[in-house]
């Protein structure tokens, strides 16, 4: 009978045992005699037995599945986070199911249903750019499924979340620019309904205030943070009358920053001599440009790992009576040539 797929029933029959005994033997239940355990496990190996997790899950109510919902997975950031998630989740015995919202709320809603249907034991989410309210997550809560946000979230009170301290990161990087001598610092900002871009802007403004620098409306440019947006943004800045021109730029995204750098060069301006630059995310390419770009590292992998850890904690405590918690990771400023004032 060494056919396609052996079941517990098959093993039981072949060994003249009951299914329950076989099940116990396979699961290393301590109550089973060493002898039968061995017999069972050997035959299992021989027949190439593989447990059916669907069946076990149905019976026990545990799927060992963990749902992850990200806006997309191309690009460094989410890929690294997912890597971190996968690592810790696997160690804890979970399989990871990945869904992408493609930055679209409707997708996001459908994905949530998919994950619920798959009986995942927890859901880890980073919101799509087009998500402005989170009512579609209520049913997750209702079903008692632990829900943890990471990176992108809405500032709703009482949700579990793991985020980078974007405010601190922005504050530090802006302070650094000021200390390097900048007095008019421009800021490329992202969509403000997203916590991350909002906090980066706040951190930037706070640093200005701390040092008594005036904030200038014409120096803050909000966009979707692509490379092209960076090009457009820098053109806009360079079009300002000379006294209003910035001497430094903090971009909330490294992509826009590269656009800005390219534009500066096209105009015959040099970095850092003519303008200091700093970005956010520590994308891999920030070390490949000339000059290399100062940036704030987001601890992507750690972020993923901490997200799973928080999930495990919630699960342990029981989803419903867990006091919602927010884990805030310290950012890490990486100073490179683009923001280092050259000796005069």
């Amino acid at each position: 009978m060494q056919n396609n797929r052996a079941s517990i029933a098959d093993l039981a029959k072949a060994l003249n045992l009951s299914p329950s005994t076989v099940s116990r033997a396979l699961n290393d239940n301590s109550v089973i005699s060493a002898a039968t355990r061995l017999r069972v496990q050997q035959l299992a190996q021989e027949l190439n037995y593989h447990p059916n997790h669907l069946a076990a899950g149905l019976r026990t109510g545990r799927s060992n599945l963990l749902g992850v919902l990200v806006p997309h997975i191309e690009g460094t950031f989410f890929a690294s986070v997912v890597h971190g998630i996968e690592t810790v989740a696997t160690k804890a015995g979970f399989k990871v199911m990945i869904c992408q919202s493609n930055e679209d709320v409707e997708h996001e809603k459908r994905n949530i249903d998919t994950l619920i249907n798959a009986q995942v034991e927890g859901i880890l989410v980073s919101l799509s750019r087009t998500t402005h309210d989170t009512r579609h997550f209520e049913k997750v809560h209702q079903r008692g499924i632990p829900l943890v946000f990471f990176d992108r979230m809405l500032e709703t009170l009482g949700v579990n979340a793991v985020v980078l301290d974007d405010y601190q990161g922005a504050y530090q990087v802006t302070t650094h620019l000021i200390e390097q001598g900048c007095r008019r610092i421009a800021h490329f900002a992202g969509p403000q309904h997203l916590n991350i871009y909002h906090n980066r802007r706040l951190g930037y403004l706070a640093a200005l205030r701390t040092y008594g620098l005036a904030e200038a409306e014409e120096l803050v440019i909000t966009s979707d943070m692509t490379l092209a947006d960076g090009v457009a943004g820098m053109e806009q800045l360079l079009a300002l009358p000379a006294p209003q021109r910035p001497d430094g730029l903090f971009s909330a995204s490294d992509f826009s920053l590269v656009g800005a750098l390219q534009t500066l060069k096209e105009h015959g301006l040099r970095v850092p001599q003519d303008m200091l630059l700093a970005g956010f995310s520590n994308e891999i390419f920030t070390s490949f440009t000339e000059p290399r770009l100062t940036s704030v590292d987001q601890r992507c992998e750690l972020l993923g790992q901490e997200t799973v850890r928080l999930f495990l904690e919630i699960r342990e405590a029981g989803a419903t009576n867990f006091q919602a918690r927010r884990v805030v990771l310290p950012p890490h400023l990486l100073i490179r040539e683009s923001s280092t004032r050259p000796p005069a």
Copy 2:
């Protein structure tokens, strides 16, 4: 009874129907009267009913799960491939389970078991760097689970696979360098037991032969293809006596190429004036360096999509009686400044 989780039985009871009728109504079975269908679906909505896919899967023998096994997911390449996979798989009604081997065969073996246990309906694999034989995939075959390799595979006959035409890509890019006037072209090669690096080297050699150029041992440097390896490799090339120095370089990885570029600059040499450069993979940063780097695009997303398509085909035909097929995607050479001979 609008408790945590409603089941079909609950709906049936509430509506005075049999479970089968409810099931049929929910699945839009054409045999059900419009009226009952509506009643059922409305109540389902109201009670926030979600089907239990584990149960359905157990019953129907279909899990709607697709297993994906990659060496890792950080970095652009696999992330993009997975993106492509996810997109097509979702459209076909599959959920994707992702595992990473971390470039380790033992992990790979364990992951295969995990996926089998999860009752996936197909497995898509890109081999770990440390995999030298593929016996652990036999049980997948035995169980009649469609198996498709993508990108990294062993040259075993009769497996299903989707790969880029690395040979062609390398041939094209080398030819391009020759046509730009290069006569001594160096090559940074990767681990040769992996089909991709092997084929890139063969393509490089073939192009040399076509144009009657001698291949020089000292110009082919094999490494693990990191940025640091590129630095070391270029140092090695520059240490050659002047007449033996290359006038062009084709690196099988963009990362090594960046290392080479940085090293050239440190030595006061200019690209493309003093040496032409070309790489492989079209990593995002190839457009951010100066000069921008010529590279071969790998069609990552398409690769992922085609892999799923091949899986669907196999499934359709029945895994066992499907004639193994290999899909080879044409590469796409992107010529940028680093390989364009400037007017003399």
